[in-house]
């Protein structure tokens, strides 16, 4: 036991002195830890180990300031020396007490970086959860400009394609090309082909108005709306009758306006 501290001290002092000399030409802050080490060397032999051990810990805390060069060096050498000492003497008390401190000093930046990365990833995940929540993804009413725009385009489009006179079904069909697309366009083509003869023969005039429009969902270029329609039809010169219709409409923003891509009667 008496031999070990002495060996350790001799080795340690040697290790400590070197960086001080090396640091002579180097920057000022590096002198601090090196001097502390030398001061420790002046203390009594038995006390010194404790002093040095605590001194090491302090350096470990100070590492983050960037004055790490000498400490790192000391540490590596110290570890090697102690390993030798342990082999020679078979007593490992001292090295056991010092190694965790050294390991910690090396692990500190890694641990800090890991904690920060995990924290960042945690925040990223939480923010993603918040932003991708169904309510946050739906911009109906929250994006007032787009909400108004899609309501207007859809209401106007429905009024145009479902309003026609016997003489001018072509006009309705023409406007259908500018406001309908996809499934809605095919449905409309089929519908018009079926009723066209009747329209002309029975002289039916249909006029459609979207009386209420509500945006159910609005996500980027896609929207779903609930539309209440009033449809007034007149057969030749008979009195007009008005019927109510409720539709859910799917619209997509293409080019410069919202096109109706699907219509479902409710």
């Amino acid at each position: 036991m008496t031999r070990l501290p002495r060996t350790a001290r001799r080795e340690d002092t040697g290790a400590d002195e070197a960086p001080e000399a090396g640091a002579g030409a180097a920057t000022e802050p590096s002198e601090g830890p090196a001097k502390a080490g030398t001061d420790g060397g002046a203390a009594a032999a038995t006390d010194q180990d404790t002093t040095r051990a605590s001194g090491t810990d302090e350096h470990g805390t100070a590492d983050e300031d960037g004055a790490t060069d000498e400490d790192g060096t000391t540490d590596e050498d110290g570890t090697t020396d102690e390993d030798e000492a342990m082999d020679e003497d078979g007593t490992a008390d001292e090295s056991r007490r010092r190694r965790p401190a050294g390991a910690w000093r090396k692990a500190a930046p890694v641990a800090a970086a890991t904690v920060l990365l995990l924290g960042g990833a945690g925040f990223h995940h939480a923010a993603h959860q918040l932003r991708s929540a169904p309510s946050a993804r739906n911009h109906a009413l929250t994006d007032t400009g787009a909400t108004t725009r899609v309501s207007g385009d859809v209401a106007e489009g429905l009024a145009r394609v479902f309003s026609y006179t016997p003489a001018d079904t072509d006009a309705a069909e023409r406007s259908s090309r500018t406001v309908l697309a996809g499934r809605a366009a095919r449905q409309y083509g089929d519908l018009l082909a079926q009723v066209r003869t009747n329209l002309v023969e029975q002289r039916i005039t249909l006029s459609t108005q979207a009386v209420r429009t509500g945006v159910i969902e609005l996500d980027g270029d896609s929207a779903r709306l609930l539309v209440f329609l009033d449809q007034t039809s007149r057969r030749d010169r008979a009195a007009a009758t008005t019927a109510a219709a409720q539709l859910t409409v799917t619209a997509e923003y293409r080019g410069d306006r919202w096109l109706i891509v699907d219509i479902k009667a409710r």
Partner: protein
């Protein structure tokens, strides 16, 4: 001595890299923290959440007010009253007795299913909202014949004690002037 210098020189880049990586990790954490804070305090997200709560409560309330079983009138009307507030609530409470006797005499069972609904206006601060609901109402008469009727309704919601309740409900008029 030489050993020390060599070791020191060999360590310097490694430590610099460690420092840079730690700083980068710190920057990443700070950036993501800020991003999370912004998302958590996003006004439009809170507004969107209110919109969805208003819609869910509104659709449920409209369905409740179109559902009534003559065998359990009191239960049904209690539900009507808890689904409403303000003027509508007052009307329901005032007309309860008369309505109860009417339903018991007619012996009808009315059930409703919401087909679709949308909020058209939301004043988050005042706690007021309007919604459209497309509804299918099934009325079953005492002779077990049932009729289905689609209806479209306009509801007005008011938030009381953090809960959205119906304060007004009516059929959307047909053949009137366009609005909304």
């Amino acid at each position: 001595m030489t050993r020390q210098v060599r070791a020191s020189a060999g360590n310097r880049p490694a430590l610099a890299v460690a420092l840079v990586l730690t700083l980068a990790a710190g920057g990443f954490a700070a950036w993501e923290g800020r991003s999370w804070y912004a998302a958590a305090h996003d006004d439009s997200a809170a507004y969107a959440a209110q919109r969805d709560r208003a819609l869910a409560a509104g659709e449920q309330a409209v369905q409740n007010l179109n559902t009534l079983d003559h065998r359990r009138v009191d239960q049904g009307l209690d539900l009507w009253e808890t689904s409403t507030t303000g003027e509508l609530h007052k009307q329901l409470v005032d007309g309860r007795q008369e309505f109860t006797s009417q339903v018991k005499a007619a012996k009808t069972v009315t059930t409703a299913r919401v087909l679709s609904g949308a909020v058209t206006e939301l004043d988050d601060r005042a706690g007021r909202a309007r919604l459209l609901v497309a509804l299918r109402v099934t009325v079953t008469a005492p002779d077990s014949k049932s009729t289905e009727k689609d209806s479209r309704m306009l509801g007005e919601l008011t938030r009381t004690d953090g809960q959205w309740k119906l304060s007004g409900l009516g059929q959307a008029p047909v053949g009137g002037t366009a609005a909304g």
